[in-house]
Symmetry: C2
Subunit: 435 residues, 2 copies
């Protein structure tokens, strides 16, 4: 079996006006869908970050991909992830780049998507689920978490393509709790990952408390994406020890490895062992040595899109367990192909014991490229079946609509800061720490 084509589809999907410390989500999120075609007409698929830069990256790799045996593709391209990652941990981090927009991890992102597409292709050829090409599932049900955001009114999309606003505006505790109630009613999630760093920390603390009262048994994670100083991080950590310490965690409260280490140290000194999660300070394997040495991070957020794919998630799991770290999973705005890649990675990674993050409830069924519509969460979980590969097929008409949206929308890279200036405050700048 040889690869005879790599089709790169840049698409846009409606995205509601969600807030984070990075700014505001644009009306469209950009994604790239890959089709890896074999000489016997089997097509493996993957989904990753979007925009022009990554699409150009895939085009530039075509010469190495076409003609390759899909069973050997990950090995053939190993230089993309085993070459030295340039930059200091701060350059490599997502402190100053939203995920998917850091040129320093472009190679890992290209590799990851190609590894996933090759696994899907091999799985389809062998009629085996992807997780069973990775040693075999250790779980049949993969848990995801509710992912509430403070948000403005609007459902995403622009002009005639503007979408209904299923969730409504949420810029304070009460509407945020209503948002989570709706999200959990729809999906059955058993964990809450709450994006913060948007409102005054006192308001966010109150929001967490109201969430905790509304869902007393559910672990809560709070993720301000570095919006806080060490002092504020410690203050929040102390105020919410009970709410976050009960199976939840505090994710990237402050910027940089040293800041994270200082927060940890001060919380421990106060008798609070709420773990610190990270997908900002730690975004690739080379960051882990410093993170471990400084005890800066206790839970690593994997991501099949930029850590190196599914096997890298397994490597990361073993590494985390070895060094006493927990393993969770990060998400960006995405569609169903990514849901399934994340689910297969989690199914084949025994150490991934936290529910995975997912933006999936924020996507509109109208944009789904997976045949048959959106993947369903049942009791908050995606079920791993015996379907070959990732277990989903592309709807080519839907994919074509995604390409049309990409062609007609003005966005070519994610820029939450520009969007914030456009809609909220013409002088807005991302300032770290903000509080």
């Amino acid at each position: 079996m040889k690869i005879v084509d790599l089709r790169v589809h840049s698409i846009a999907i409606a995205d509601p006006p969600l807030r984070s410390s990075y700014g505001l989500h644009q009306p469209y999120a950009l994604r790239t869908v890959l089709e890896l075609v074999s000489d016997d007409k089997i097509v493996g698929i993957a989904e990753t970050h979007g925009g022009d830069a990554i699409a150009r990256g895939f085009e530039a790799l075509k010469g190495r991909v076409i003609g390759a045996d899909p069973f050997r593709l990950a090995g053939l391209l190993i230089d993309l992830v085993e070459g030295d990652v340039p930059g200091s941990s701060l350059d490599r981090s997502q402190t100053f780049h939203v995920p998917g927009e850091n040129p320093l991890d472009l190679k890992q992102r290209l590799y990851s998507a190609l590894e996933i597409a090759a696994l899907d292709l091999c799985g389809r050829a062998l009629r085996k689920p992807v997780c069973d090409l990775l040693g075999g599932r250790v779980r049949d049900e993969v848990a995801f978490s509710a992912y509430p955001f403070y948000k403005h009114a609007g459902g995403g999309g622009e002009g005639k393509d503007a979408r209904p606003d299923e969730y409504g505006e949420a810029l304070g505790p009460e509407p945020l709790v209503r948002q989570v109630k709706h999200m959990i009613a729809q999906n059955g999630f058993k964990d809450i990952k709450f994006k913060t760093g948007v409102l005054d920390p006192e308001v966010e603390i109150e929001t967490v408390r109201q969430l905790h009262r509304a869902f007393p048994g559910l672990p809560i994670r709070m993720d301000p994406n570095c919006a806080w100083s060490v002092e504020t991080s410690v203050k929040v950590g102390k105020a919410l020890a009970k709410e976050l310490g009960n199976g939840g965690y505090l994710e990237d409260p402050t910027a940089g490895m040293d800041g994270m280490a200082a927060v940890r140290k001060q919380l421990l000194a106060a008798g609070i062992d709420t773990p610190l999660g990270s997908n900002v300070a730690v975004t690739c394997f080379p960051d882990l040595r410093e993170a471990v040495a400084k005890d800066a991070v206790q839970i690593v957020l994997s991501d099949v899109h930029y850590w190196g794919g599914l096997r890298a998630t397994q490597h990361l799991g073993k590494l985390c367990k070895t060094f006493g770290l927990g393993l969770s999973m990060h998400s960006n705005s995405h569609l169903g192909v990514s849901v399934m890649a994340m689910a297969h990675a989690a199914a084949a990674t025994p150490q991934l014991t936290y529910a995975c993050d997912t933006h999936y409830p924020w996507s509109d069924a109208k944009d789904e490229v997976v045949a048959g519509g959106k993947v369903r969460f049942t009791n908050g979980c995606v079920r791993i079946t015996d379907r070959p590969g990732l277990g989903v097929d592309l709807d080519q008409d839907q994919l074509a609509r995604g390409r049309e949206r990409y062609a007609s929308c003005p966005y070519r890279k994610r820029d939450d800061e520009a969007e914030m200036r456009k809609h909220v405050d013409p002088n807005w700048k991302r300032v770290l720490p903000r509080w």
Copy 2:
């Protein structure tokens, strides 16, 4: 595809009287060969440590193995390697147990062999080489090293089954150099791993110097299996800085994580950065955290037989690179099935940049269970071909002869100390440190 049978073959193979700090090799080394049989009559094979204890372990697992899908077997049995490993690092280490005789790592050894047999079975079913089920080879040629030992006269085997002594006695520098010349002439090795901890350190230092003069371009590793005090280790490290520092290393000079760390610290203080390798202080993932924290080990010796199999070797490779450690590979007395499992692991593990250890030249072609005879080293390397699975088949007649040798020999576990008392010194005890 379902597994319908697991055949466990305990065999014995002739082993020459090789010396180490553990004592003396018995006339027979014990191995176990597995056959994992599918309902469509495909048979996956693996080879591991021998003796009665591990054979009983496999028998006890049959209920979990038979009926399983071989693509899922590693996932189904994951508790064997993900359950907590009991004991302190000293209990888990091979300081007081020869490899394959520590009851604390029995579960990992059972898992490793079953993972390998399942991969071979899947590879045969799909007509794919094992390394290409692991992401694909990153190299076609896997380098192994010459592995000289001080030895007594004799070729292994007993009584009418005594074998010709191809290498002769070697209990000093000159015969040891002759041994290596013969071994390299036969196999083309480009590295020398030298088992020491047997004679006075001054004699061993002189042996390394003579090896270095005889093979000036070849990296040399010296492995006394903990025979030395910290002081002696540092003395040898200083004396041989040039000879071992040139791409070689000093393996397990002294016992225990703290001893290793002290040797490292004192060598560095003397301006000598000869790395310390280990397959004694560090034998499983849980040992790595302490080893990294103390800088006790700079090169980890993987082993497909007890670290958890081939995927675990990949995990270990990524972990080692992440923490700035080198990766090498350990060996025991073995036949061609193990050679191929080691070679496929190395082919699919980019970070494995050292030549693998191998006792293979010490085995007698008469005992080989691989059809067609011993696997060949060309220029010191095993070539990874396109043959399915591990790329070798069993010769059932040879396997039957191995079982007969097992049945007729008196050995049921490896015991180098007893053998030393029997043949060399009736009062011999393993004393650490000896020098």
